[in-house]
Symmetry: C2
Protein backbone atom coordinates (compact mmCIF):
# COMPACT_ATOMS: atom_id res chain seq x y z
CA UNK A 1 0.00 0.00 0.00
CA UNK A 2 1.38 3.37 -0.93
CA UNK A 3 -0.10 6.63 0.22
CA UNK A 4 0.40 9.68 -1.96
CA UNK A 5 2.97 12.02 -0.50
CA UNK A 6 1.75 15.60 -0.33
CA UNK A 7 4.32 18.21 -1.27
CA UNK A 8 3.16 20.48 1.54
CA UNK A 9 3.65 17.75 4.10
CA UNK A 10 7.08 16.97 2.69
CA UNK A 11 8.02 20.61 3.15
CA UNK A 12 7.04 20.35 6.81
CA UNK A 13 9.19 17.22 7.21
CA UNK A 14 12.14 18.87 5.48
CA UNK A 15 11.87 21.96 7.65
CA UNK A 16 11.97 19.68 10.67
CA UNK A 17 15.06 17.92 9.33
CA UNK A 18 16.57 21.23 8.28
CA UNK A 19 18.22 21.72 11.63
CA UNK A 20 21.64 20.23 12.26
CA UNK A 21 20.76 19.03 15.73
CA UNK A 22 17.56 17.26 14.71
CA UNK A 23 19.09 15.89 11.52
CA UNK A 24 22.04 14.44 13.42
CA UNK A 25 19.66 13.04 16.03
CA UNK A 26 17.75 11.23 13.30
CA UNK A 27 20.94 9.83 11.80
CA UNK A 28 22.05 8.60 15.20
CA UNK A 29 18.65 7.05 15.91
CA UNK A 30 18.86 5.39 12.52
CA UNK A 31 21.55 3.23 14.11
CA UNK A 32 19.45 2.36 17.16
CA UNK A 33 17.58 3.79 20.13
CA UNK A 34 19.17 6.52 22.18
CA UNK A 35 18.44 8.10 25.51
CA UNK A 36 17.82 11.79 26.19
CA UNK A 37 20.81 12.18 28.47
CA UNK A 38 23.06 10.71 25.79
CA UNK A 39 21.93 13.38 23.39
CA UNK A 40 22.63 16.00 26.02
CA UNK A 41 26.23 14.72 26.20
CA UNK A 42 26.64 14.39 22.45
CA UNK A 43 25.38 17.83 21.54
CA UNK A 44 26.61 19.62 24.62
CA UNK A 45 23.30 21.39 24.87
CA UNK A 46 20.99 21.96 27.81
CA UNK A 47 18.55 19.18 28.61
CA UNK A 48 15.43 21.26 27.84
CA UNK A 49 16.84 22.17 24.43
CA UNK A 50 17.31 18.48 23.64
CA UNK A 51 13.86 17.57 24.95
CA UNK A 52 12.27 20.24 22.81
CA UNK A 53 13.94 18.98 19.64
CA UNK A 54 12.85 15.43 20.44
CA UNK A 55 9.31 16.55 21.11
CA UNK A 56 9.12 18.16 17.68
CA UNK A 57 10.34 14.95 16.05
CA UNK A 58 7.84 12.97 18.10
CA UNK A 59 4.95 15.34 17.32
CA UNK A 60 5.59 14.71 13.64
CA UNK A 61 5.63 10.97 14.29
CA UNK A 62 9.21 10.51 13.10
CA UNK A 63 10.35 9.09 16.43
CA UNK A 64 8.76 7.29 19.33
CA UNK A 65 9.67 7.18 23.01
CA UNK A 66 9.93 4.31 25.43
CA UNK A 67 10.40 4.70 29.13
CA UNK A 68 12.91 2.43 30.84
CA UNK A 69 13.19 3.17 34.51
CA UNK A 70 14.24 6.74 34.92
CA UNK A 71 15.40 7.00 31.32
CA UNK A 72 13.49 7.75 28.18
CA UNK A 73 14.73 6.12 25.01
CA UNK A 74 13.86 7.50 21.62
CA UNK A 75 13.88 5.50 18.41
CA UNK A 76 12.90 5.88 14.78
CA UNK A 77 9.22 5.22 14.17
CA UNK A 78 9.35 2.92 11.17
CA UNK A 79 5.57 2.91 10.91
CA UNK A 80 5.39 6.58 10.00
CA UNK A 81 4.04 7.28 6.51
CA UNK A 82 7.14 9.31 5.76
CA UNK A 83 9.61 6.74 7.04
CA UNK A 84 10.66 5.57 3.54
CA UNK A 85 11.12 9.16 2.47
CA UNK A 86 13.14 10.07 5.55
CA UNK A 87 15.24 6.93 5.27
CA UNK A 88 16.32 7.86 1.76
CA UNK A 89 17.62 11.14 3.12
CA UNK A 90 19.35 9.58 6.14
CA UNK A 91 21.04 6.97 3.97
CA UNK A 92 22.86 9.72 2.13
CA UNK A 93 24.33 11.19 5.33
CA UNK A 94 27.73 10.34 6.75
CA UNK A 95 27.63 7.94 9.69
CA UNK A 96 27.47 9.54 13.12
CA UNK A 97 28.44 6.46 15.08
CA UNK A 98 31.71 8.08 16.10
CA UNK A 99 29.64 10.27 18.41
CA UNK A 100 28.30 7.22 20.24
CA UNK A 101 31.75 5.64 20.29
CA UNK A 102 33.13 8.76 21.95
CA UNK A 103 30.39 8.48 24.57
CA UNK A 104 31.31 4.85 25.11
CA UNK A 105 34.95 5.75 25.68
CA UNK A 106 33.91 8.28 28.28
CA UNK A 107 31.78 5.59 29.92
CA UNK A 108 28.69 7.72 29.39
CA UNK A 109 26.73 5.33 27.23
CA UNK A 110 23.48 4.20 28.84
CA UNK A 111 23.17 0.46 28.39
CA UNK A 112 19.54 -0.38 27.94
CA UNK A 113 18.03 -3.65 29.32
Amino acid sequence: MKTTIEIEQVAVILKLLGDKTRLTMMKILDGGACCVCEFVEIFQMTQPAISQHLRRLKDMGLVQEEKKGQWVFYSINENNIYYPFVTQILNQLPSQKDKLEDLEKQGKRISCC
Copy 2:
Protein backbone atom coordinates in the same frame (compact mmCIF):
# COMPACT_ATOMS: atom_id res chain seq x y z
CA MET B 1 34.61 11.69 -7.91
CA LYS B 2 32.49 11.89 -4.80
CA THR B 3 32.79 14.69 -2.30
CA THR B 4 31.85 13.91 1.28
CA ILE B 5 28.54 15.43 2.20
CA GLU B 6 28.67 17.32 5.45
CA ILE B 7 25.68 16.83 7.71
CA GLU B 8 25.64 20.52 8.63
CA GLN B 9 25.50 21.55 4.99
CA VAL B 10 22.72 19.05 4.35
CA ALA B 11 20.74 20.63 7.18
CA VAL B 12 21.11 24.00 5.46
CA ILE B 13 19.87 22.53 2.16
CA LEU B 14 16.93 20.84 3.87
CA LYS B 15 15.95 24.03 5.64
CA LEU B 16 15.96 25.76 2.27
CA LEU B 17 13.77 23.02 0.79
CA GLY B 18 11.61 23.00 3.90
CA ASP B 19 9.31 25.67 2.53
CA LYS B 20 6.39 24.66 0.35
CA THR B 21 6.94 27.48 -2.12
CA ARG B 22 10.65 26.77 -2.65
CA LEU B 23 10.13 23.02 -2.66
CA THR B 24 7.41 23.29 -5.31
CA MET B 25 9.60 25.69 -7.30
CA MET B 26 12.39 23.12 -7.33
CA LYS B 27 10.03 20.35 -8.42
CA ILE B 28 8.72 22.54 -11.24
CA LEU B 29 12.24 23.49 -12.32
CA ASP B 30 13.09 19.79 -12.27
CA GLY B 31 10.89 19.60 -15.35
CA GLY B 32 12.58 22.51 -17.12
CA ALA B 33 13.42 26.19 -16.89
CA CYS B 34 10.81 28.62 -15.70
CA CYS B 35 10.48 32.37 -15.69
CA VAL B 36 9.92 34.59 -12.66
CA CYS B 37 6.59 35.91 -13.88
CA GLU B 38 5.33 32.35 -14.34
CA PHE B 39 6.07 31.61 -10.71
CA VAL B 40 4.22 34.76 -9.74
CA GLU B 41 1.15 33.42 -11.57
CA ILE B 42 1.50 29.88 -10.22
CA PHE B 43 1.90 30.78 -6.59
CA GLN B 44 -0.31 33.87 -6.65
CA MET B 45 2.29 35.70 -4.62
CA THR B 46 3.79 39.14 -5.04
CA GLN B 47 6.75 39.42 -7.40
CA PRO B 48 9.23 40.44 -4.68
CA ALA B 49 8.26 37.43 -2.59
CA ILE B 50 8.97 35.15 -5.56
CA SER B 51 12.25 36.89 -6.35
CA GLN B 52 13.40 36.52 -2.77
CA HIS B 53 12.71 32.79 -2.74
CA LEU B 54 14.59 32.38 -6.01
CA ARG B 55 17.51 34.38 -4.71
CA ARG B 56 17.83 32.08 -1.73
CA LEU B 57 17.87 29.05 -4.01
CA LYS B 58 20.42 30.75 -6.23
CA ASP B 59 22.63 31.82 -3.30
CA MET B 60 22.83 28.16 -2.29
CA GLY B 61 23.73 27.24 -5.88
CA LEU B 62 20.69 25.02 -6.35
CA VAL B 63 19.43 27.05 -9.31
CA GLN B 64 20.93 29.31 -11.91
CA GLU B 65 19.47 32.23 -13.82
CA GLU B 66 19.62 33.13 -17.46
CA LYS B 67 18.44 36.41 -18.86
CA LYS B 68 16.40 36.31 -22.08
CA GLY B 69 15.36 39.78 -23.11
CA GLN B 70 13.27 41.26 -20.36
CA TRP B 71 12.69 37.87 -18.75
CA VAL B 72 14.82 35.94 -16.32
CA PHE B 73 14.63 32.16 -16.53
CA TYR B 74 15.66 29.98 -13.65
CA SER B 75 16.74 26.38 -13.96
CA ILE B 76 18.19 23.62 -11.82
CA ASN B 77 21.97 23.85 -11.47
CA GLU B 78 23.01 20.29 -12.15
CA ASN B 79 26.63 21.11 -11.38
CA ASN B 80 25.94 21.81 -7.74
CA ILE B 81 27.63 19.40 -5.31
CA TYR B 82 24.27 18.69 -3.74
CA TYR B 83 22.42 18.11 -6.99
CA PRO B 84 22.37 14.28 -6.63
CA PHE B 85 21.11 14.64 -3.09
CA VAL B 86 18.42 17.14 -4.04
CA THR B 87 17.35 15.06 -7.03
CA GLN B 88 16.69 12.06 -4.82
CA ILE B 89 14.31 14.19 -2.80
CA LEU B 90 12.59 15.74 -5.80
CA ASN B 91 12.09 12.34 -7.41
CA GLN B 92 9.92 11.31 -4.50
CA LEU B 93 7.58 14.28 -4.90
CA PRO B 94 4.34 14.25 -6.88
CA SER B 95 4.59 15.90 -10.30
CA GLN B 96 3.70 19.58 -10.41
CA LYS B 97 3.30 19.80 -14.15
CA ASP B 98 -0.42 20.43 -13.78
CA LYS B 99 0.53 23.89 -12.54
CA LEU B 100 2.33 24.66 -15.80
CA GLU B 101 -0.51 23.13 -17.80
CA ASP B 102 -2.95 25.42 -16.05
CA LEU B 103 -0.75 28.37 -17.02
CA GLU B 104 -0.70 27.13 -20.61
CA LYS B 105 -4.50 27.01 -20.72
CA GLN B 106 -4.65 30.59 -19.48
CA GLY B 107 -2.18 31.54 -22.21
CA LYS B 108 0.23 32.76 -19.57
CA ARG B 109 3.14 30.47 -20.35
CA ILE B 110 6.24 32.34 -21.48
CA SER B 111 7.66 30.52 -24.47
CA CYS B 112 11.40 30.69 -24.32
CA CYS B 113 13.61 30.93 -27.50
